[in-house]
Structure formats: C-alpha cells, structure tokens
Symmetry: C2
Subunit: 202 residues, 2 copies
DNA sequence: GCTAGAAAGCTAACGCCAATAGCTAACGGC
DNA sequence: GCCGTTAGCTATTGGCGTTAGCTTTCTAGC
C-alpha cells in the first residue's frame, strides 16, 4: 500500500481549508483524516492531537492576517492607512472565516511562539496609528478601540448579526470614517494617562 | 428512590450557571446531569437535546441582556444614556461570560421566538440613538457601529485579548467617549442614504 | 384511601470522536 | 540489497449525545 505522503504542513493546510469551509468549531481530526483518506490516529505522526492542530491553524491564520495588514498599510499613512487596514482586516475574515475564528482563540501565556505571532497584527495597527497625533498615554487605549471596532463588526457580520436590508459595506464605511474622525479631531483631551509600554498584545 | 424534581427552567438555569463558570463551549448534557445527580438521558424529558439546551440558554441570556440594557437606558438620554448602555452591556458580559457567549450564536431564521428575543437589545440601542440628531438613512449604520464597538471590546476582553498593563476600564472609556464624540459632532455628512426600515436585528 | 394513567428517571445500547499502544510495511541511506 | 527509521495501520479505551424501552414515582379522580 503506497503512503499518503502527509507532512505537518499539508495536514495543517488541509485543516485550515476545512475550517474555512465548515467552520473552526467543525474542525476535527476525523474530518481531516477522512479528507486525506487516512485513519485518524495517523495524524498524530504529524500533529500534536486536536489541541495541537488547532494551535497550528491559529498560528497560520494569525500570521497570514498580519501579512495582509502589513501589505495593506505599507506605502500609506494617516487616514488612508487606516482605511486600508480596516479593509484588509475584513477582507481576510471574509476569505478565511475559519481562520479568522481561529485567530480569536488566544494563545497560552506560556506559548511564546504563539504569543509573538498574535502580537504582529497589533504591531501593524500600532505602526499605523503612530502616524496620528496621539499622546503616548492614549496609544494603547486607541489601539484597543480600533481593534474592538474592527473585530466587533467582522464578528457580528460573520455570525449573521446584521439582518436589516441596509448595505453592510456602507455600514462598515460609517464605522471606519467615524473612527478616523475621532483620530483626527480628538488627539488629546484626557490628560491623566499611564506611561507607555512596548509592543505586544494590547 | 425519590425524584430529582427537575423542570425545564431548573435545567436551563443550571446550564446557564455552568456555562458562566466553565464557558459556553464546555456546556454539555453530561455536565448538567452530573450537577443534578441524574443520568444524562433524563434531561431529555425537560430539554430538546444539547441543541435545544443551547438555544434556551441563549434565549435566557439575550433576554436578560435586553432587560439590563433597558434598565440602564430608562430615565436617561443623549450621551448619558449611551454611557449607561455601554456600561450595562459590559457589566453583563462580566457577570455572565457564558451567557454572553451564548448570545453570540444567532438564532435560526425560522425560529421566530428567538428572532424576536435577539432583536430586543438592538431595539434598546436604537431607542437611545434616536435621542441624537442622526438622519434616518444613517440610523441602521450607526446602530451597527455601536454594536460593533461594544461587542468587539467585550469579546476581545473576554478572550484575553488585552495583554498590556494599561487599565482596561480606561480603554473602555476612551472607546465610549470617542463614540459619543462622533454621535454628537457628526450627525449627517454622507447624504446618499437608503430608506429606513423597522426594528429587528440590524 | 385507592387506583389508574401520566410522566420522571433509569439502564442498555449505538455511533462518533479523541487518544494511546503496539504492529507492519514502505521508504531512504549506505 | 540491506537496515534502521517512520508513516500509517488496527485495536482499544473513555467520553459524549442520542434513542428505545422499562420501572417507579407522583398525582387526579373516584
């Protein structure tokens, strides 16, 4: 009997595809094995159980998301960069719903590799926001606000939370432009601030 | 052997408690049964399987969330009402993490009872926003933006997405005040709008 | 107070999944 | 062409959801 020729990368790639098609919650070792025409236990030779597989899918997804954000932001600045960021973020979630969902399961605090991977998208956001006149003490709060806005919209949309007939793209525009408006005309204001800290998941 | 005295309400209440303690994903018939000192199949006399139990927990949660929002908004208007809304929303998520998570699994389109229940929190938000000078064509988009902001923040926070040392309450303030700022000083602007529609999940 | 029927909770059994142990056969280096 | 490595297998265990069918408790009505 010839071998299936699996590798960790192949398995994770197929798992990512599967979770994009059926949802991240539907990701199972049995389903992945079936796709390769292989028995479930065989996957253990390439992946550390279901937990490990989920972790790898998350890592892959968050890395790709980071790349996309970076790609969107490069060469732009100010409001344009923010628009590009918002756009790329939602586009990724549309193209890879399972991957985006995987992105939401944070990494264990001890898992340094995952920790770093999860920090990257945030770093890109931070870089873009530095183009605005935001006091250091407000930086982290602003990053968190942006992340909340994007993620909230994308997540609600993905779960079918917007049921009215109004155009969803237009709603996103309203959100994005509203956010930019605050960024531009509201640089300071709350003077009492904490000191700054370095990169990481804000 | 005396009976356990279960009722649908008791079962759902215990399930809600369990999912608040261990997470909505950890909700299982087996775990609920164990809490009552009862065999798993016994629960089928009160609840329509795991799917049904999840639905009931969701309904209960979304109803309570709606009540909380309403309670927070009543007697207030304008920015104060928005602040109260944001506050109550996050407070609910803190007190009932499992319930809040349950809230995110939307209802089936055919499930009219659930549909109505899920619409209620949105109706409260809509009522509060009517206190601002927002063009009808922009209303739904604004509601969606608010929901995105709150949910995004709460969801990221719940999943441990804010890892920097900065105070999270303060971040929430920044988000809330930013949103209010847009509401107050940016009533119109994009003139091209759709027509209005009635309540429902926006 | 007794009885009959409704219904609560039980055990048994099946299928699906994750996971571990241990076998076998295919592959690659020499 | 041989041999060690290892990919993939089968067998098995344990947990879960679900259905079927039984027994026993409770309660309504006489």
């Amino acid at each position: 009997m010839p071998r299936a020729g699996l590798t960790p990368d192949l398995v994770v790639a197929e798992a990512s595809r599967l979770s994009d098609e059926k949802g991240f919650e539907a990701l199972s070792l049995a389903a992945v094995a079936k796709r390769f025409g292989v028995a479930t236990p065989s996957l253990y030779k390439h992946v550390d159980g279901l937990t490990g597989l989920r972790r790898e899918v998350s890592l892959r997804a968050v890395t790709e998301l980071g790349d996309r954000l970076q790609g969107a932001a490069v060469g732009r600045s100010g409001p344009d960069a923010v628009r590009a960021l918002f756009g790329a973020y939602r586009a990724y979630a549309h193209e890879h719903p399972g991957g985006y969902a995987a992105t939401q399961r944070g990494a264990a605090p001890t898992d340094h590799e995952a920790y770093a991977a999860f920090a990257r998208p945030v770093e890109v956001i931070a870089a873009v926001l530095r183009g605005f006149d935001i006091p250091e003490a407000r930086m982290v709060h602003t990053i968190r606000a942006l992340r909340s806005a994007v993620h909230g919209f994308v997540d609600l949309e993905a779960h079918g939370g917007f049921r009215m007939p109004e155009d969803i793209d237009e709603s996103y525009d309203v959100l994005v432009e509203g956010f930019i408006h605050v960024l531009e005309r509201r640089p300071g204001h709350t003077g009492h601030g904490a000191e700054e800290a370095e990169e990481g998941e804000n």
